[in-house]
């Protein structure tokens, strides 16, 4: 058993409910590694919504709220306002975060409130049986798009960057070291940190999107279909595009703005200006 499980996982609830080869377990271990790196286990609280990815924090020996579908970020904002001393980590999926909870994502990013959102993007609604999600690629035949998906997929990183999130990164489950580093940086960063993780769902997305059920081969595809984006590189199609000219998806750190004002700082400033004592 992994050494970190002793410290972070409720072992009586093992094995996890994830299917064999699911990327959620890799993200679970990466987040544990990030907490271990910062040594901040006692300061972290987790919030999650509904979906396979929202089961990730439920196995942690931490304070966890498993909330309604799509409302994870709304609950997390409330928790942050009442306990500003805690580092709040939100685990959410692509459907949870961008379809039903899209509005909460927009406003949390715009406020630049100090949350670390880990969005697990598996390109499909996995838990409910493989319906089309906002990130499903064009042409994918799913249960709810039997003739092939016709909508352009949403680009979550571009969306939150345009609204003013101050830490934005995208990694895949095939890059676990970089992912753990990004989550650690996100936890350490003061402001809205958004980390999109491209993950494999060998059961639903494997059948409908990739046409490939071997998790290792889907991870290999992720390695082949991505390229490393560097801030300041003059690639015009970089972070803002869903794909570059060769059809590759940019991964890496897209934005890290350390001087952006955080929401709670602005609240305190306004209260001090108005002469309201806390």
């Amino acid at each position: 058993m992994n050494k970190l499980y002793e410290k972070y996982i409720k072992k009586e609830s093992l094995p996890t409910l994830f299917c064999p080869g699911c990327g959620n377990g890799i993200i679970q271990i990466a987040a544990m590694e990030a907490m271990e790196k910062l040594n901040c286990k006692d300061d972290v609280a987790c919030v999650s919504g509904i979906g396979c990815s929202s089961w990730i924090p439920c196995y942690y020996k931490l304070d966890v709220i498993h909330t309604m579908h799509g409302r994870a970020i709304a609950f997390a904002e409330g928790l942050k306002l009442s306990r500003p001393d805690k580092k709040i980590m939100v685990f959410t999926g692509d459907g949870d975060c961008m379809a039903i909870g899209g509005n909460h994502l927009l406003h949390a990013a715009q406020r630049n409130i100090d949350l670390t959102v880990v969005m697990v993007n598996n390109y499909i609604y996995g838990m409910t049986g493989g319906q089309k999600s906002p990130t499903t690629p064009v042409g994918a035949k799913t249960k709810t798009s039997p003739y092939g998906c016709i909508d352009e997929p949403m680009n979550a990183c571009k969306l939150v960057m345009s609204l003013g999130a101050s830490y934005v990164a995208r990694w895949t489950t095939a890059h676990p070291i970089q992912l753990a580093k990004a989550i650690a940086e996100g936890l350490d960063h003061k402001g809205f940190s958004f980390i999109e993780v491209l993950s494999q769902c060998p059961v639903q997305a494997g059948k409908n999107v990739w046409g490939e059920k071997e998790p290792a081969k889907i991870m290999e595809k992720y390695k082949e279909s991505t390229y490393l984006y560097k801030i300041g590189s003059d690639d015009p199609t970089g972070a803002v595009a869903e794909k570059n000219a060769e059809g590759k998806i940019p991964i890496g750190l897209f934005k890290h703005e350390q001087n952006a004002k955080e929401y709670l700082e602005r609240v305190e400033e306004k209260l001090a200006q108005s002469g309201i004592a806390r």
Partner: protein, 67 residues
């Protein structure tokens, strides 16, 4: 020489470890895990370079590498 153990109770037989190991230490075997699928076996553990990629990429945390 590294001591590699695979937890029978955690492993679900997804075979990710077989493809990520740069030295191909994991091989297919007929042994079953508690989940009911075939779990990998460890072959030639003395070739292990302790990169710990299998530890990080095992979704169920079944692999432990000790130096």
């Amino acid at each position: 020489m590294a001591n590699i153990t695979i937890d029978k109770a955690c492993c679900k037989g997804c075979n990710i470890c077989l493809s990520v190991c740069p030295k191909n230490i994991f091989v297919k075997s007929r042994q079953r895990n508690n989940y009911g699928t075939a779990m990998p076996a460890v072959e030639n553990p003395d070739q292990c370079i302790t990169c710990r990629m299998c530890e990080r990429l095992c979704p169920d945390g079944a692999i432990d590498v000790e130096k």
